[in-house]
């Protein structure tokens, strides 16, 4: 446990020491701020649909939402393994008295905590809004929960991608394309007649569930899905870094 803590804090610390953090963070916050501004304007319109809450619009699977996490996650994870492999610092890490799983988990936690912090910063928008008008905090909180849990999947995919190459750019592209494919899974639903298959696809399309989270609905099914996918990716990463070919 002490090991994991030390490893994770190194990951997180190194992240804030690199300019990538600030560029990605600034872009993310700029984009979210812009979206938030747009939403306020739209919801302020007397003709606006009153059945849509601010949380639903902000945390729902919109274009802006998906694009911002689609870019953020690969950037946060691209360095994790590929950079250590490229420079060779991985050797000192893997020959320290830590298990492979601790290494994988710390890489994941470091990037995921950065992601959680980035999202967490957007709470100032809601605090600001709260000064002006009343709204229900419940859906906002579940909205954050959804963003963080979905984020875990994206980060785990990114970590896996990073373990597959020693080039950060390749790692970023690999996870970006994978996420893009996963996000567009919903499109296939249109072409499938079989109701069972169509149901499965709807369950597996990650963004779909954000509708529930943003409405304040806490359903265990998406949580199980997100957690399972995260665990699978981390397990696979562990297998990758344990393979003789990777270590030689």
């Amino acid at each position: 446990m002490q090991n994991l803590l030390a490893l994770t804090s190194r990951e997180l610390k190194s992240f804030w020491y690199s300019p990538v953090a600030y560029v990605v963070g600034a872009l993310f916050l700029l984009l979210q701020g812009y979206v938030f501004g747009l939403l306020i304007t739209a919801l302020n319109d007397p003709a606006a649909d009153v059945s849509i809450s601010i949380a639903q619009a902000f945390f729902g699977p919109t274009f802006f939402y998906s694009i911002s996490i689609l870019i953020t996650a690969p950037f946060l994870t691209m360095r994790t393994f590929s950079e250590e492999k490229r420079t060779g610092s991985i050797e000192l890490l893997l020959t320290a008295p830590v298990t492979d799983m601790q290494v994988v988990l710390s890489k994941f936690l470091g990037a995921w905590l950065a992601y959680v912090i980035l999202w967490g910063l957007t709470v100032v928008y809601f605090i600001g809004l709260r000064q002006l008008t009343a709204f229900d905090w419940g859906p906002v909180l579940t909205g954050y929960l959804g963003a963080w849990m979905l984020g875990a999947v994206l980060i785990a995919i990114g970590v896996l991608a990073s373990s597959l190459t020693r080039n950060q750019v390749v790692a970023a592209i690999l996870s970006f394309v994978t996420l893009l494919l996963l996000f567009s899974l919903g499109i296939f639903e249109w072409f499938i007649r079989d109701p069972e298959t169509s149901k499965t696809i709807r369950y597996l399309s990650l963004l779909e569930h954000l509708n529930d989270f943003s409405k304040g609905i806490l359903d265990t099914r998406p949580m199980v899905l997100y957690t399972t996918l995260t665990a699978i990716c981390l397990f696979l990463t562990g297998r990758v870094i344990n393979s003789p070919r990777w270590r030689s």
């Binding site: 030390a6 000192l92 020959t95 320290a96 008295p97 030689s248």
Partner: protein
């Protein structure tokens, strides 16, 4: 004395190449053992297996009686390892890095401060401890890696070419440090620099093409070559004919040509144990009317032992 590192029948094969074939070696606890071999002999592969970085194809490694593949974490806790190529985190300061390493190596929080200070002092890093690792010269980075090895006060140190890339002054300091550490710690160090082994190691294992060709004290290895003195010969004449004739002199085991300058051909002869070939060579020179420019018998240096042991196969 107990065995700190026991390597038995270790083999490592990559797709087509065999990096190590069936090596066995025991390092007693408290001794400094040198691992000597030309580049590409398999030194690094062997050390990386010891530290659990890579798995062997077959064979076992036991560190203080723990199987390295079965209990990797416990084994690694007992080892301080300095790899051949040192890559650290450039964004951290030396002190910060050592504190991180101390934490993952399980040094309890209350001891960390003093351990870091001790390691910094031992490796001459006190004055630069607040510098970013990325801004350090290679020599300093090397020392940071060495300090990292020492931080958990391991009973075994595995150092892969610890003095490569250092300036002469730093090399001397590092060797002194290794010798001093050797009083309390088992050290296995690899190198291709012979004087280093003679100066620091109690025993030497010579490795070549993935095999251990000799294990002994530096003095004994030299002794072993003593019966095989080297003879330096310079003769004026046709080099090819001279070499041919020298080979046929009874007692000559190996002829190494050192080229021809101004019609004088130089050779180095390795002789069979107990043989003195000097008079035979003199008579040969007279008989063939080659002018004798030099004829001298020299003591075998450890370098000769090394060359003798690692080139034997090619000559055969």
């Amino acid at each position: 004395m107990t065995t700190a590192i026991a390597i038995s029948n270790l083999t490592k094969r990559y797709d087509t190449v065999t990096a190590l074939s069936d090596i066995s070696l025991a390092v007693e606890s408290g001794e400094i053992m040198g691992f000597l071999g030309p580049n590409g002999a398999g030194k690094t592969t062997a050390l990386r297996i010891l530290t659990g970085m890579i798995a062997p194809t077959s064979g076992t490694v036991r560190i203080e009686d723990l199987d390295a593949t079965e209990r990797p974490v416990e084994v690694r806790r007992r080892i301080g390892y300095m790899p051949e190529t040192i890559a650290l985190y450039p964004e951290l300061r030396i002190q910060e890095y050592l504190s991180y390493r101390a934490a993952i190596k399980g040094v309890v929080r209350s001891h960390r401060r003093t351990r870091i200070d001790t390691a910094l002092a031992q490796c001459g890093l006190m004055d630069v401890r607040r510098q970013l690792i990325g801004r350090l010269s290679k020599g300093y980075r090397q020392r940071v890696a060495l300090a990292d090895c020492l931080i958990s006060q391991p009973r075994i140190l595995i150092l892969d070419e610890p003095t490569v890339g250092l300036d002469p002054h730093q090399i001397r300091q590092t060797r002194e440090l290794i010798t001093a550490l050797g009083r309390t710690t088992t050290i296995l160090l690899s190198t291709h620099i012979l004087p280093e082994v003679e100066m620091t190691c109690r025993r030497v294992a010579i490795i070549d093409k993935g095999r251990i060709v000799a294990v002994d004290t530096p003095a004994n290895l030299r002794q072993r070559m003593h019966g095989i003195p080297l003879v330096r010969v310079q003769l004026r004449g046709e080099a090819r004919a001279i070499e041919e004739a020298l080979r046929r002199v009874p007692g000559v085991a190996r002829v190494t040509s050192h080229g021809q300058v101004d019609g004088v051909a130089a050779f180095e002869l390795a002789t069979a144990a107990g043989a003195d070939v000097r008079e035979a060579i003199f008579r040969l020179a007279v008989e063939r009317q080659w002018v004798l420019r030099e004829l001298a018998q020299t003591q075998a240096s450890l370098e000769d032992v090394f060359i003798h042991l690692t080139t034997k196969e090619q000559d055969a």
